[in-house]
Symmetry: C2
């Protein structure tokens, strides 16, 4: 079990603050080269974004989830909002920014490997400032899930959460200004592999992860490794949790779903090896379908999957 | 001068039948690799598609242009239609296909080189069948511009044009079934470099171009070569017309604009070297701006540009 206490008596299990987007998913028979012209074999538009996807994962697994973030006042914003609402995610904290376009991602999925390549755009006016947040909405869950989309807002939210005794989790895949301070405020620090490397300058995976202790003395530290699973520090020891071998249709949002499932497992009181295994299973099941969300499993599906993989 | 007679007394100078699309233009600081995540430095949505773009080029150069093709009954179809209408292109021959999405292109533009990479999707129901066309609309211009999007429709249209004494031009960048028959019906056969190579199996540029005579005995044969310009056959001699050296913002639709400008030059009675030079200049000016259309020059702009490049 993680040495973290999640408060009781909250209206939500998890509150997520950060990225949402609308994804244009393009399956290509081969990854294009420069100046190439490739016809997609399949195209879909779906709601996405790392925090919004994680909230959908939490919801599918049975948690009460609230999403806080900004959308544009365009038709795509309504797509993003409608999909979250249909999943049962609370959207009362979604802000609509006048005169802006909703964040877009163009995602190329290599048909052979399921590997995804993301090209994204965000209007700077979609940034959420600390002054736009209220403490009440930030601390109304048993755990707060953040990213590094708007670092000052995330730092403010993490401080409020800490003051209110609400543990924090982060999904961070790059190192923007202020990332060190933000990481220092996080209890469940689950990073993309590149982040410890960029922060510390260490190239070795484990040494880079250990080096993050410089900025975060007490939190749970973990990196996600794609098809290799995850590497965590547990009582000072490195713990590698291998991913489940699957034939992915699409790896889009596997990391987002890993985070959502890990939050579920942490709230359920799983010990760390079991939580990592559960999160790896959810991420593996996610790859069954095109896009960030259609493949996200229910708890029963994760358990059925795990029962077949001793 | 080309040995081609363009009929007089037609309501349009040029009629174009073929591809239209809506382009999602994404300028990227570097071309992404597989599994990469790259933020765009600029994003725009614009109307595009090779024949629709060529009709806009003809219009900007002062021709009366009509576009024939299909759009979906979605919001993007209205974007495509509205942009053509605003340019003054006749859209009375545009069909709206119920229950389908308009053709989409996701275009990555490498910021450093301006080179474009296209990923596209088209609903099969957007195909235009020969039975959906009328001879009257096809032959109401002084010249007919085709592509290989719907080969049976293009073959039917080329036959009607031939019967009515209306010369034909083609923009062909791949070799679908029936391409040989279609190419045999064309008077101004301006191909992407890959087409003669794929048709003939010849790897040498000039030999491949000469080999196209097997399918087209009498037409003007030419290949576009991107930043190298164009290579044509003139009285049995190969004529290389170099492109103008520019720092492209975006090369999207340079070939489309080359075709439109060549049509203008042919109708204006320019000899082949002057027509190729004019078309190269129009394509070079196109690269000034992001997207297929904003950079398309007027005749005055082409002439001013040519005056500075003796």
């Amino acid at each position: 079990m993680l040495p973290i206490r999640f408060p009781e008596g909250k209206p939500f299990d998890v509150v997520g603050l950060g990225e949402n987007s609308v994804d244009h998913l393009c399956v290509v028979p081969r990854f294009p080269g420069l100046s190439d012209k490739v016809r997609v074999t399949r195209y879909e538009m779906q709601g996405g974004g790392q925090i919004a996807n994680a909230m959908v994962a939490c919801r599918r697994l049975g948690l009460r989830a609230k999403y806080i973030g900004k959308i544009g006042d365009d038709a795509l914003g309504q797509v993003a909002l409608g999909e979250l609402a249909r999943e049962g995610v609370d959207t009362s904290g979604v802000r609509v920014q006048a005169g802006t376009a909703t964040r877009l991602s163009f995602i190329l999925i290599d048909a052979a490997s399921g590997e995804r390549t993301v090209v994204w755009d965000q209007d700077p006016r979609l940034s959420l400032a600390p002054a736009e947040l209220t403490q009440a909405e930030i601390v109304c869950g048993r755990v707060l899930h953040l990213d590094a989309t708007d670092v000052p807002a995330s730092v403010q939210a993490a401080r409020w959460a800490r003051a209110a005794g609400v543990p924090t989790c982060i999904d961070i895949d790059h190192v923007p200004p202020g990332a060190e301070e933000l990481i220092g405020l996080i209890d469940l620090c689950i990073m993309s592999e590149a982040v410890p490397r960029e922060l510390s300058g260490e190239t070795d995976r484990e040494r880079a992860l250990r080096a993050v202790r410089r900025w975060n003395q007490h939190g749970f530290l973990c990196v996600t490794l794609g098809s290799e699973g995850a590497l965590a520090l547990l009582d000072g020891e490195a713990l590698h949790a291998p991913a489940f071998a699957v034939q992915p249709v699409d790896t889009t949002a596997c990391g987002d779903v890993f985070h959502g499932a890990f939050l579920y497992a942490a709230l359920a009181g799983f010990d760390v090896p079991r939580a990592l295994r559960f999160a790896n299973a959810a991420a593996a099941l996610k790859t069954r379908a095109l896009g960030g969300r259609p493949g996200i499993p229910t708890r029963a599906e994760v358990e059925a999957f795990l029962a077949t993989r001793p």
